[in-house]
Symmetry: C2
Subunit: 299 residues, 2 copies
């Protein structure tokens, strides 16, 4: 999916909601457990009940892998069921040396028809670049995450050396023999920034605003204004609204740009809105409330 197609969906549906299919077999209504594929049956009901209210679905791969082969089958069935209208995110936090990331990209972009995958930046450029080589597919790089552990490294200060090279023209005295030249002047400046800021400014050069997004946790609202300055045109995938406590209003005010530029994910507060037979209906009500709030913020 291209950025233009995603933005069209957002303004058509007046929604930048991503529904997180963190489907935990121990939390879905018990009457579904007698189905041959309870996870897919649950997902299908949630999707049917919410698809006109959201522009994206995010599949958290851990929940499927925990079930082994059956879980992987449920994930494949779910992403194929979603079709072309929604932006399909594999929340997989992958990333490895180049030849291995190539295969993760193949797994999620070719073997399965996801539009995007979340990627961990620790191993640097060659671990992320393979995800940027697939046409109309996206890498969503971890920037500043919503969890407490963000303080351990992401919010630690780094020293950044910026080298500015200035080429000056030849300077000549009126006496030609006395001429001298300064070809190049290099100025080194050291400054301090958070690791996550370095990740944003470095990783944003690896791709474009049309194939690279960042994960920015909704619980990090204090940093949103700064983050928008560093990456003024990138889309953000924003988890942490709902169960984790982030404010939809605050992040929308601070991070929204002229073509929206944010996808806000809600998982548990929608898919587990009810644990009974009415789970799909209640999920729709919860999604509808988010969509209506989003409609009031969309410019």
């Amino acid at each position: 999916m291209t950025r233009q197609q995603l933005v069209e969906q957002i303004y058509k549906k007046k929604s930048y909601l991503c529904v997180g299919l963190d489907t935990d077999i121990s939390k879905i209504p018990r009457h579904l457990l007698s189905e041959p594929d309870p996870v897919f049956t649950f997902n299908k009901a949630i999707i049917d009940a919410t698809k006109d209210l959201c522009v994206s679905y995010k599949i958290n791969t851990a929940f499927y892998e925990a079930l082994g082969v059956k879980g992987w089958e449920a994930m494949e069935r779910t992403v194929r069921y979603l079709g072309e209208e929604h932006f399909k995110i594999a929340d997989a936090k992958r990333g490895d040396i180049g030849n291995t990331s190539d295969l993760y990209a193949k797994a999620f972009f070719e073997t399965m028809p996801f539009d995007a995958i979340t990627v961990a930046p620790y191993m640097g450029e060659d671990s992320v670049r393979p995800f940027l080589q697939h046409k109309n597919k996206w890498a969503i790089v971890l920037g500043l995450t919503s969890n407490k552990g963000a303080n351990d490294f992401e919010l630690k200060q780094m020293i950044v050396r910026q080298t500015t090279e200035t080429t000056r023209e030849e300077i000549k005295d009126s006496n030609e023999d006395a001429g001298y030249r300064i070809d190049e002047v290099t100025i080194d400046t050291n400054y301090v920034s958070f690791l996550y800021e370095q990740v944003l400014s470095t990783a944003s050069k690896w791709g474009t605003t049309g194939n690279l997004m960042f994960v920015i946790g909704a619980t990090q609202a204090n940093e949103f204004t700064n983050i928008r300055k560093l990456t003024p045109d990138h889309f953000y995938l924003v988890p942490g609204v709902g169960a984790q406590g982030g404010s939809l209003k605050e992040i929308s005010e601070k991070a929204m740009i002229k073509d929206c530029g944010i996808l806000v994910n809600v998982s548990r507060a929608i898919i587990y809105a009810s644990g009974k037979n009415d789970f799909a209906e209640k999920a729709r009500e919860a999604a509808k409330a988010y969509q209506q709030e989003m409609n009031s913020y969309l410019k």
Copy 2:
């Protein structure tokens, strides 16, 4: 597997070799493609040919996920075939918020019988800790990786603030009314270190030397002496020997400790030693050469 059991295997086999099952269906001998499960058939032949020469097998999950459900099935069959004698590593580079990492741990430690999983540290403590809650299971945290991208963040300098709190006793003048007290003195010191050094020193406190290892790339030999100073007792999983060019001799000299403390992984140079019918025999020869060299370094 406990550390003691792993070390016993190392001295019994005179080997600290880990064979990497990076099984790529496009690289295995063509005559295997007519088998119902070519990846497992290949792995089984490699395992049968090398099991007395190595103490560990490492399954790179990307190669299996690229094949979808069939690949996940081949991974499950392979790890179950390995049995109890070998240290079974899922090279999966996982890591997410706590409730999600919990499910990755379940996937690899309960649904499948791996002994260890590689974990990315970017998201901090709560993303790693769930992998340390399973008895006799290990988290192998990325420290300094073997790829070029290690320069992007891992080898960037950070500012570390160390706070030392000193409690002093009450100091009293001979005249009791003139008494004064200093309860606590806090001293802040700033120093500079690489990000990967911070990961080693911080993450080593999350677990023990009996449930946490680090990934240290063999191509980073210049840093090995420093790394051993920072983490004198931890085991390292060392990829990058073989196709990536790291020196087995150099890393063994610099990183080996009294109970060995290193597992050296070789993937392509063993499993693709031949692309023909004799692939298992040639894999054995390659593994044997590594084992014999390791025997000469083992103290």
